[in-house]
Symmetry: D3
Subunit: 146 residues, 6 copies
């Protein structure tokens, strides 16, 4: 297998359809990664943060301590910052989003154990007016050591 970065894994998981998702999870779990893909949608940015945190904890992607929760939070903030492209806000600037998020935990680069464990979070979805069809795609990613 070619070397791949944790960010690319997270991006491809976020972009995957159902068949690819199952295949990716199997493939990368076999070489030591933990992967999860979920959905969130809201005009309230707090709910996007909460959905990701809840998923990460329930799926045991982070351990129940502040170091790991801190890494998860900064990952989410960076991903959401990139997703919003300037204004870290949804409803306050009259926009809404529906997105999928992927969380991947493992080495920064596959088969390279020297850098320890990292966390990558990707957001991919539609952002725009709270009106059907008046929206376009957006993406954001955050990466932190964990």
């Amino acid at each position: 297998m070619k070397k791949i970065g944790i960010g690319k894994i997270a991006l491809q998981l976020a972009l995957s359809d159902e068949d690819q998702e199952a295949e990716m999870i199997e493939k990368y779990e076999a070489i030591g990664y933990a992967l999860y893909k979920g959905k969130a949608g809201s005009m309230d940015s707090q709910k996007i943060f909460a959905a990701i945190e809840t998923a990460a904890m329930r799926q045991d992607l982070i351990r129940e301590n502040y170091r790991e929760e801190h890494a998860l939070y900064h990952c989410t903030m960076e991903a959401f910052n990139g997703y919003c492209r300037g204004q870290i806000d949804l409803g306050n600037v009259l926009r809404s989003t529906g997105l999928v998020f992927s969380i991947v935990r493992g080495h920064l680069i596959s088969e390279d154990k020297s850098t320890g464990e990292w966390l990558a979070i990707t957001l991919y979805g539609q952002i725009g007016s709270p009106r059907q069809g008046f929206e376009h795609e957006a993406v954001g990613m955050g990466i932190q050591p964990v």
Copy 2:
């Protein structure tokens, strides 16, 4: 073929290896998209903007007028903003990047001609210290009507 958004096409092109790239270009040009993938690397953010603008003009992805150049500029700014996740800067905050960029022009959603032509720009690469191996992946995307 399933419907696909212009942003997903641009993201997959940026993530593609050489074989996939040729295949994607053929597949999406057949249904009316124009696609390009290039490389840029610098500690000077101006050079990232210049590389994308030069490529878009040389490849005829935008017409030689201000309306289209304006759309390209705002696309690039949004993509770079997302890539940087907060500080729209490279060398001033002592970091460097090497990235691939993809530019895609066509319908917002494949086979839906109602929304006219749009431009999607994706940046995907490594950002970090100007020191080999001290860097991680980043992604950014901008979408504008053209």
Copy 3:
């Protein structure tokens, strides 16, 4: 008539008193511009965005499609960003505003048809503490092709 930019028309309309407003509208409609001036006031930034969008749609300043709504949204965001001078927020940072907004649609520069149609939005008003007299003027403008 001397050449004038769409932004200057929008600024002067926002600064105009009632007599000047009627005169400006007549003068610039005669050479192909569409102009509108409205009012909005709130501690809730979402309401400023909504007031401008509603006015633009009711007054037929934009067509009922996503391309034009997207241009209007980005215009409003740029204008509000400039108006707020750093923090894109009102009530969350304990401030309120009462403002007039102008929307102008037409050529980027009068009598120059080569650049097609653009949209300019100007905000001009008072921003400050939600307490009478504890506020000062602010201005913001956004310009996008439409």
Copy 4:
């Protein structure tokens, strides 16, 4: 004469042609304001700040002390922030500007001496690609007590 805010005076001065400028200066100096209008153009944002500071000092619009220089600096920063609409940068994001700036010193509202002296700075000009004709108008304003 109708009451007018210091910001509106500064905006109108920045938008004025030569005849109007002379008339405005005479009119508002008669009721206690000091006004100045200058030009600056660069891809280097530092030069915009320097041009305004130099003009304000040479024209005695601020006294030679840190309190007043601090007010001038924050006024300029707010005006430039609004002018740039998000990224406080020119050349680093491959754009250039040519602008006029106005500096006005006096009461916050004409004929109302209760609030003491304030400073208003307005920037109005063209921002865009460093290529002739590939640019549009922008405006920014800052107001501070002095």
Copy 5:
């Protein structure tokens, strides 16, 4: 007594325990400073601004006019901006804070009357998840002439 800046006084007051606080207030009031230390905690950033403004007015640290209220507001905004380190927001990005704030009014540098009166506001506290123990320290400071 060695010369000291108003910012250092505000920082030390914010960091002081009860005994040090009483001692500091006595020491610096003797040389013409006014000092106050209060507490605020919330997920709602508006409440932090309100707590500081209310305290400054009740303690007569600012006079009841707009010039001084404006200086106080900008001081608070700068301090909160530094405290948040990028996103000027609490609950919208799913975080909460409990902090002490200090307000100091007096010369920019002790025993140097040439620069007139200034205001320094320091925030020091814990910021993080709204969950006990999942938070770390933060600091922010704003300084304005008054």
Copy 6:
């Protein structure tokens, strides 16, 4: 000894005079912290980042790997972000700084080993016009697990 946070240690070290500095270093090294205090001054923000990184490496406050360098970089970015209060820039917005920085490594809260090792960086100094005496104090702090 009372419990103390790593941020407060870093802040007090940055504010300390020479005698206090020596005393603090002894006191906190005895309970497992590593402390360092240095100086940096420039109109070029890159040099502030470089001075802190060089010091941290020479003083062995971080290990020679990317995980720790990444934590150091994000700490520095957060501290500089807070220090600048909005615009992450020095010379581009015509200002300069002279500052002391402190780097502290150890537990988040003294005597509480449950959260592992963290890094706190504090910047304290003078920021302002590149002209003697036209400047005031600023502070910024970043905290990251390491």
